[in-house]
């Protein structure tokens, strides 16, 4: 579908959100709460916070919640009953996230839809629309251009808004779903603006080539660089849980012999227990092996198996890390090593 260009006036954004909410869409957007900007449901445009480089957490929770019920069971005299919740009742519009987060839907969907389709994820994806806003500021942690993205990238978005110099937005309607959203408020979207999009975007320098890195990484399996880099890593799960592209999960049962439920919850390859066998054998027993797995998975295995890079260069993991494990710096060290 060719991308249609329109203009969305600055003052029309509030109305657009009200139309969305009237159209049975729940709208989630970045909101400022104490020192952190994080995604939450909004009732109007005034709740939206715009002056930040990147939110602390990604909007991944909308598509892949941190705790999700797979099914509920009820034991009976002869047998058991397995009940499943239907999908989220209301559609959700994720409004105002960055293009790199929108691009992060691709690695998520790649894992959840290859081979056996993951029904819970597919239901949520079908009922989610993404209205992204291009980046007008970036910092040294950002490296979207090195992994195939850019501050104005339309991949993954249904509508991409770019704030122009006058404050109005260039609206690029990318997908059918985007078109359906625009139809809810067609009068607000006027003819395409003259102004160039590129000069309103942040500058993010390309620091390495993801393809070359993917070819180089297998050769680094036994290199001491992993030990050197991961000495200060504490083995917590912060990087995996703020990452918009991390999909590893755990399945846990909660309940008793009468009733209960099976839950899917986030997990991280950084934890020591992630691959621990009940016999005590652990194929990845030291932190350097886990740090290697994290990078190999995102930059070598996933591109190789599902031809999608497991990272969108949003820089959240480096910002959230308590000991400043700067992913970009370590990737460059390997790319040039």
């Amino acid at each position: 579908m060719t991308i249609e260009k329109r203009t969305l006036k600055k003052e029309a954004v509030g109305e657009f959100i009200n139309r969305l909410r009237a159209g049975q869409w729940q709208v989630v957007a970045p909101k400022k709460k104490d020192k952190q900007v994080t995604f939450g449901e909004i009732s109007g445009a005034e709740d939206i916070c715009q002056d930040y480089v990147q939110t602390t957490q990604s909007a991944k929770g909308v598509l892949f919640p941190r705790v999700e019920e797979l099914f509920r069971y009820q034991m009976q005299e002869n047998g058991a009953q397995i009940l499943e919740r239907e999908g989220p009742p209301q559609g959700t519009v994720i409004f105002g996230l960055r293009p790199c987060d929108a691009a992060a839907v691709a690695p998520l969907a790649a894992v959840f839809t290859w081979d056996y389709p993951d029904a819970p994820f597919k239901k949520r994806l079908a009922q989610t629309a993404i209205v992204a806003i291009s980046c007008h500021q970036a910092d040294e942690y950002c490296f979207c251009t090195s992994v195939g993205g850019s501050p104005g990238d339309t991949r993954g978005s249904d509508i991409l808004l770019t704030r122009l110099s006058g404050g109005d937005y260039l609206a690029e309607i990318v997908t059918e779903k985007g078109k359906r959203l625009v139809e809810l408020a067609a009068d607000l979207f006027t003819v395409a603006p003259k102004e160039e999009k590129e000069k309103n975007l942040a500058r993010v320098e390309k620091r390495f080539d993801a393809k070359k890195l993917a070819e180089k990484l297998p050769g680094f399996f036994d290199s001491p660089v992993w030990i050197e880099q991961s000495l200060r890593c504490l083995g917590c799960g912060a990087c995996a849980y703020v990452c918009p592209a991390c999909v590893c999960f755990d399945i846990q049962d909660e309940g008793n012999e009468k009733r209960g439920r099976r839950l899917r919850c986030w997990d991280s390859c950084g934890f020591s227990q992630f691959t621990l066998h009940t016999s005590g054998h652990n194929p990845r027993s030291v932190q350097s092996q886990r740090w290697r797995q994290r990078l190999m998975h995102k930059f070598s295995y996933q591109p190789d198996r599902l031809d999608v890079v497991g990272c969108v260069g949003c820089g959240r993991c480096s910002r959230a890390c308590p000991v400043d494990m700067n992913l970009l710096e370590h990737l460059i060290q390997i790319a040039e090593g």
Binding site: V67, E68, E69, P88, L263
Partner: protein, 144 residues
Amino acid sequence: MSEFEPRVVAFVCNWCTYAGADLTGTSRIKYAPNVRIIRFPCTGRIDFMLLLKAFANGADGIIVSGCHPNDCHYTSGNFHARRRWIMFRELLDFMGIDVRRVRFAWISAAEGAKWAQFVNAVVKDIRALGPYQHYRQVVGAGIQ
């Protein structure tokens, strides 16, 4: 709906309070049936997490009772427990968990009457406080 019947869970030590409760029974003293008694070798063996487990499973009030200081069958179990409860009670209060619902006592094997009075008093207070909705809303929250 009939009057609210609180569910009270009692963690008691085997040598003193449990025996005391036995004595209450053998001396035919009636007391509120709302209490469910769980026996432990000693108050020192009661893990503080069990109180939270009781609340999560629907308890409205909790009783913890054991031997008087210096009477502990294991000499120092109740002393350690006392320190643990002093700190745990403060932590619960600090986190906003209603400590009026957690009642502690020393009840020896001979104090059958005291056990009955104590249980009746606790059940009356908890009935006044009503069901512990706050905690029960936490169970199952945060799951999509």
